[in-house]
Amino acid sequence: MFWQRKDLLGLKYLSVEEINLILDTAIPMKEIIGRKIKKTPTLRGRSMVTLFYENSTRTRSSFDLAAKFLSADTIGVAAASSSVAKGESLRDTGLTLNAMGVDVVVIRHPASGAAEYLAKYIPAAVINAGDGTHEHPTQGLLDMFTIREKKGSITGLKVCIVGDILHSRVARSNIWGLTKLGAEVRVVGPATLMPLDIEQMGAKVYTELTPALEGVDVVNVLRIQMERQQQGLFPSLREYSRLFGLNQARLELTKPDALVLHPGPMNRGIEIDPQVAYGSRSVINEQVTNGVAVRMALLYLLTGGEYDAISH
């Protein structure tokens, strides 16, 4: 099949075939990352801008490297140092970048729906690198790539997402993508951090960690933001850790070969015990490598590349 969409805004909007196409395209991309000379001329003459309205190290570097490994030209626009600080609207900033001849705009923004809003107005491809508490589709895809690579298939797996589901765009993208590919997705966290009616997205809701972890193939641990405590959403990190922190003993509840994922950056000792984070089940560092591969695949597909051209 061919990629048809102009943008990647969320996994909610993708078909199973589209998700598989991205994941399949990421396999040869990962092979490139493993080479000594990590450079192919595939996207020479193409350009990508990262337009980030929120701080980010890993996602931004990951996109930047993905583009560079494919020989695309890249620039980074940080909201604080641009005309955004002068009060320019997102639409106008987008139109300006588009008028400069950019092929792909990678946007991170604190407002849910910002990527969709931008995509409506500019002909350039838009990749959502995280919009508010809506979606973070490239994180969802790299998690799925990691799981598929380790487990062979996603269909029939049980995946447990632990933590602040309410504010997590990672959780939402994972729920959409994993359920489309036939996994059972469980979410668990404090009642104050669980969004209403999330069952309607296809997830099973738990408020206790023990039953949520029983028999799962994958545990995806979310970062807990310290500021949620000040907002009165949970009483203390101590109690959070006691109820929802993933440690070695709790990991025993999962299947013996269960994987541990974390989107980073980690609060070691709070949501995840260092022993687990660095243990044999952890695939946290591979997630990072896979993130570059998945983003290379997306840049390639969104600029008109065909899967057959790289795989043969």
Partner: protein, 429 residues
Amino acid sequence: MPYLIKNGIVVDPIDETLTELDVLVDNGSIVEMAKDLTAPEAEIIDAKGCYVCPGLLDMHVHLREPGYEYKEDIESGTRAAAMGGFTAVACMPNTNPVADNAAVINHILERAARVGVTRVHPIGALTKGSQGKELTEMADLQAAGAVALSDDGQPVMDAGMMQRVMQYAGMLGLTVVSHSEDLSLTAGGLMNEGAVSTMLGLKGIPNAAEEVMVARDILLAENTGCPLHLAHISTAGSVRLIRQAKSRGVKVTAEATPHHFTLTEEAVQGYNTNAKVNPPLRRQEDVEAVKEGLKDGTIDVIATDHAPHAYHEKDVEFQYAANGLIGLETAVGLVFSQLVQPGILSVPQAIAKLASNPRQILHLSGGKLAKGGVADITIIDPNLSEVVDPAKLQSKSKNTPFIRWKLTGLPVLTMVAGKPVMQKRRLLR
């Protein structure tokens, strides 16, 4: 100039009757109402197949003047009202400056007299600057022409303050219009809390944010005896609370907007900022409850909460967009399409909620066509259809989720003090 309205069906919302009568108007008054009237000197207005109603009054409108004329002003807002079949509007005090003193009320009335197409009845603020801290000079506001009091958009969070507001307003017989919202429960919410807000990643506003305040204000009305009007009711729980309060005799009335009886939270899908409104669009079961409340009389009034916002205030990321939508020009069409045609309200019941009930709450005369009465008249053609076209809207702002909706049942004449200001879907001034 005398006008003879021929062959129409006169709607009496108080006696709940429909009667084929001709209506002769002269010198600003209704001179005669009878069958087969003739008046050779009068201009004939043919109303065959149409409802001849007492002039409609929208008791919840934001005209934005003074202060926000780039969104709307008294002229454009009353043009929109006339186009929508309203002979009068009551305008909310959240202008800049806030209508919290007689000078602002006087200014609004003077501007309305000069440029207004319909009647304008200002609503004064409950507290100075609508800050919820000090009482306004309510007697002064009343003497200047304020028809009710409200801190619309800025709920009085302090219950003790609200109690004093209601004691003092009650002393003057002024109705307090409550924008019922507990800000600690809204807490930055952007739309109804539920599956849609969860999927879109938008912070949700629970039904309780409204219901907690509806319950509080009902109790305070009960304690103080002050007439309370609850604005823009959106949830099933609120309807239930109001129904219970009325059954034990509390002096409480309530209104619903066309968007709350027509749309659900689904309208927000795709981050549609024209569907961003406070209180938010709720679930289907809330819409059904609001309709049930309209049907059984729990909800007395249909008002639009006409809230114009400029293009650039809506063409932004959803969370930065202003709350509110315009409603004056689509209200009658929505009432007929959503309530009258499906049989939820009879025509007299619908007109009661658009004409006579709001006047009773605001202590204004009219609301019934009668010989010798003021000739504020709205004629509605129940079979006329139109597609909502932003280019044709009279309001300065075009922020409505009903663009491209086909509405059936539209006003074809708006007459203020015996003079047509809108006829056959065209403004006459």
